[in-house]
Symmetry: C4
């Protein structure tokens, strides 16, 4: 659980499916900087707490909604990445300004800026997500659906870094973002690098160790 | 008193009303990084020091002015948030680019850029503030009036974060800020989350503890 | 000497006049992060090393030139503040976007972008500086002439912070910088706060102490 | 090897030629934060590992390609500097906004945004580099060819810092970058400062020591 702390601090709340019909999620009030096993709840796909007697996060339905709609998804992350979320507040879709950003081109934007509290709102988020691995919530944050914690971490970092580059590049003048043809080439090139999520995860663990956090 | 230190370092000076006609405020020369009980004065609503024999801050009248005009206010914070203050120097009012920013839309701007030294200047700041919880001072800083230290802290953080997002988003092109209709929805949605100020306060305390500051 | 280290690390090299015709300056190769008394030279107004047997900084003539032209100056700082220096590379003079920035409005820009090596170059810098307390060197850095180390430190910090605000504000649209009339009011208002340089100096010392540097 | 760690963490991967036909490079999976002698491979100019039994980096051909084409090059660095790389995604060549940036004016851009895996791709990178000391890879990163680790470090830092300044300056309005005539003057002026790479290297070592990393 301790290794999750670093990520949770980064990306809001993270959940992990442990059976087809239930998942782990931290309690609403657990500080992201000092989470322990006692702060983790077991929740079903309706968003009902099965184990643990403290409240679940206000937005548990983001997670439940995605798990209901996407049996393939094992881990869901919801965060408030400040650069990525800007692409929900301007009149242009997400572009790729870094090569690794090819997979975030045109990330869908969910129009509801409020907290996702109800089952209906959770279902609506899942519809916006569709078969993608990421979507953005207007003025609010991101939802990332993946197979592992390491993948959610990698997607969070790279989506944000790509968005930061787009903001900076836009100051410089007319942009020449990654084209659809280049995106195809990059997809093929990155497909050969399936070790990346684990490598970056280990690099951040090493940094956390040097900083005395692990 | 120690828990105040972290906030004071962040937001300039903070005062707390302890009776209808008096409030606590740190001395002018106390380093925000190492404040102790000896550095705290008791001041009346005219800005006169009742207890403590060192000078009060130059701008004590910001606090006194707000307490005179607003009997409902328990805590006043004055700081120099670098991003928020930009909205006093451009030809556009504050907008909301993050969902939590809905409550800062159109934050009033006080036109006097100098130090607020006199009773008259303090009254003028209070008139600009009106019934709002925040106003900005031209080229200078912010004034936040609230019920608790945790609320001032939350407002300071979120006003600044919203302003930072607005600056970055403006590089990307025409903006689509939170609309009045969305602001109404967000007001209703956030009203259900009254635990937020305390939660964020505890999160920052946990971070400070990990950093060895508390 | 130790207290100088923090400032030197921040602002390139700093010199201090110890007699009408001589000043202290660190050696060219002393790491700014670990300077000791052995790293300090005594230099005359021609830039000739009188005491110490290691080379003086390449740009010692910046200091010598200012001391020759301005008998009133006791301390000279030369640094490479990244935001301030932008105002030498765009077609607009320095403006004030923060209230404390009023004293940097129209800071003169020296046109020579190369190292200031010769007596003639040092004299030219001093002519650009004139009776001001600061000037900028094109694409290069700043020169600050003051009465004390604390004043140079304050000017360095505030010039840079004002420039940073100008860069950020410019993204938001047409600017309404501090007007000449407001600058007059601010000059009068700040004149009453002559404790500021010492207060900020002490605050940074406190921070350095907490960080274990002093 | 330990002193290399800091640089590798900064700039992706770095290699060093140890004979006309072979060079050192870290393994693909070594964390940049904790590299040891066991993580270093010996590779020939075809990119074949001669000593060490773990995989070499995916992009070893960047290094091999440059060493094949440029017998004068002793050290090659490949990194992903976020500001510098923006100049591959906009319709303008690299300019100099800081005086030290004169040597990056018009840095060539390699058009292939994918990983450089094959011998042919490595040769193509070397052709883009030509006789320069730096080139950029579209949406991807930088390649720096130099005589020493300290030079690669200096070029990485200064290219990035110049690019950051260009991004910030572009917000302020029409730019007046370093002109070709000024670049000539700067080239002459910097030629007299051949101690710079070593001085900056030592400064960063001192900082690393203070931070407890060395």
């Amino acid at each position: 659980m301790m290794v999750m702390a670093e990520l949770l601090d980064y990306s809001g709340h993270l959940s992990a499916r442990i059976a087809p019909d239930r998942f782990l999620i931290p309690t609403r009030d657990a500080s992201r900087a000092g989470i322990t096993a006692d702060d983790i709840l077991i929740v079903d796909l309706d968003g009902k707490v099965l184990e643990g007697n403290r409240p679940c996060p206000t937005e548990t339905q983001i997670h439940a909604g995605v798990y209901r709609a996407r049996p393939d998804v094992k881990v869901v992350g919801h965060g408030h990445p400040p650069m990525s979320v800007l692409f929900t507040m301007v009149d242009r879709p997400m572009i790729a300004i870094r090569n690794f950003g090819y997979r975030f081109i045109g990330t869908p934007v969910h129009p509801d800026p409020t907290h996702i509290r109800t089952r209906e709102q959770g279902d609506a988020v899942a519809r916006t997500l569709g078969q993608c691995s990421c979507c953005l919530l207007r003025g609010h944050g991101s939802v990332i659906a993946a197979n592992s914690v390491a993948e959610v971490f990698l997607d969070s970092l790279e989506m944000e870094e790509n968005a930061r580059s787009a903001v900076h590049a836009a100051s410089l003048g007319p942009l020449k973002p990654i084209t659809p043809g280049e995106a195809e080439q990059l997809k093929a090139s990155y497909a050969k690098n399936d070790y990346r999520a684990v490598k970056i995860w280990e690099h951040y663990q090493e940094k956390a160790r040097l900083a005395g956090l692990l």
